[in-house]
Symmetry: C2
């Protein structure tokens, strides 16, 4: 069966043309993208659901979702709830994607809050950071659920055999952290989940744990600091490499070797982040996504469907967590 | 008058020999380091205060400070309160430096909490991140004081003419953030301080604001993510540049151009962070400090004394903040 992925054609910084181009790229892999966008949009032959209205990046999420039920963003997300699509991808307003998902796709039984799970390209392969920004304020028990969701993501989608969890904090010792981190640490320790204690931001690219949990505020700050620092450092190096003839020659010679690293560190390689904890797969793509990033976000969505991430998560949430022997 | 800087000879990861070497380097600049360390320590001719006991990185800060009043760390910090030194530098247990400072150097009148102010090497020159980890849990009004302290640091020590403040959050819009950030944003807006709104972690190296404020948990996570990412990216590039003969040649050619960038991004260039809001200057150096980092931390401490950072801060805290005209 071909996986049908609803794609919101509006909302990306590069316009609907770029989004459609990404959808066409993903379609070549045997995925069936369904493009949600305004009348007259050229979808290059892809299925087209005509929508009316757009939610902008600056709109207030909950209000906009209520006021524009026929916008491309809301319709794309809603199609997952309707069964018209198996998953949805949007590069639009993150808050609005979250609000539309909560309203239409709804939370799985037992889920306190959905979490944004994003892949981090570590030295040892991809790891998962969750929550990367769905919930600015969280309670300790939310972080335990994020850990559970992240573990399933790592096992099913990343194919990690026995993933382990770390809590993002300000020191490795259990007593380091703010009140939320201290309580989350204690709950994770008692949860029976494979928990290895705290980790610091400095290890994010080193891959100490396959799953790193945080509240959405801390996770989002860490993710943006990580992405921004990669971009700033590579950008500054590129500038230096243009400063003199010698440096330019050096840059040319080193380029093939650096290509693999650049590809690994490029957020577009993953394309998007799962919003986990819902009755369906929703992928949030970067607003600045190129066609390649959009295609990868659609592939990520399809992979979640193929691995029945939602069904597995629903079963895992109902099963009591097994305690390891003392 | 020569500035006297108390230097804790213990606590660095590289041993007291490295710390003393750094102190000797700073002494060549006309600063007068006073080395606090055990009997028999070779201080290379520098003043030596003999101390008894050591506080380890893993010790519980408050307990250790109470139990070991004659340790090098506590004695060095206490010498600032006694007037035996003008400032203190330690590469030891951060929590213990904070506890000893609160106990002996004490807060300036009106200061809720001291904050750790660290320099961030942005494209546009150094900026200040405060609080980088003194207070894992903070209240909104603490962040306003951190802003005030950071502004003074930027003006006096970094020589920035009209520094501006940003709040570290998860989006530029005022309504983006957790509860603490939302409330801090409103207070900063009303404070009369030169506040330009929120900033995200992605801009930390770009230098959007000269002063970036955060609670100590978020600030510490961001700082460590920043430092760790710089190290990971540069390390990975170095590895790539050793992968083939061609890449190795490219690396050699590019090295002189990259040297300036490496120096800028190296935390050792600054050497340490101020603990601001006290009746004296205390500088916290990285545990992993080399002699160069120690020397720079001592220079930073001396600069704070020469600019009367403490006196200016005390006066600023008493003066009502001027409101800009509506």
């Amino acid at each position: 069966m071909t996986t049908r992925v609803a794609v919101d054609a509006l909302g990306g910084d590069h316009g609907s043309h770029e989004i459609v181009a990404g959808a066409l790229e993903a379609a070549a892999d045997g995925i069936r993208p369904i493009v949600f966008g305004p009348d007259g949009l050229d979808t290059g032959g892809l299925d087209h659901v005509v929508t009316d209205g757009e939610i902008a990046m600056v709109d207030k999420p909950a209000e906009a979702v209520r006021a524009r039920p026929d916008s491309s963003l809301v319709r794309a997300v809603r199609s997952v709830a309707d069964g018209a699509a198996d998953a949805a991808v949007s590069a639009g307003n993150t808050g609005a994607i979250l609000a539309a998902s909560l309203r239409h796709v709804r939370r799985l039984p037992g889920v306190y809050r959905p979490g944004i799970a994003v892949m981090i390209p570590t030295r040892r392969g991809p790891s998962v950071l969750i929550d990367a920004g769905a919930n600015a304020d969280a309670r300790p028990e939310h972080l335990v659920q994020f850990a559970l969701m992240g573990l399933l993501f790592a096992e099913e989608v990343l194919g990690v055999a026995s993933p382990r969890v770390r809590l993002l904090s300000i020191g490795e010792e259990p007593e380091k952290g703010n009140q939320l981190a201290l309580e989350a640490h204690a709950l994770l320790r008692a949860s029976g989940l494979p928990f290895d204690g705290n980790t610091e931001g400095r290890t994010l690219l080193e891959g100490e744990g396959e799953v790193v949990v945080a509240d959405g505020f801390t996770g989002n700050v860490a993710l943006k600091t990580l992405e921004g620092t990669i971009r700033s450092v590579l950008g500054a190096l590129r500038e230096e490499a243009e400063g003199s003839l010698q440096a330019r020659l050096g840059g040319l010679l080193i380029r093939p070797a650096a290509r693999g690293l650049r590809a690994r560190l490029d957020p577009e390689t993953y394309g998007g982040a799962y919003l986990l904890g819902l009755h369906g797969i929703v992928v949030i793509a970067h607003g600045s996504s190129s066609r390649r990033a959009v295609a990868n976000a659609i592939r990520l969505a399809a992979r979640g469907v193929e691995h029945d991430l939602v069904g597995r998560l629903a079963r895992r949430l109902q099963a009591p967590v097994e305690r390891p022997p003392e």
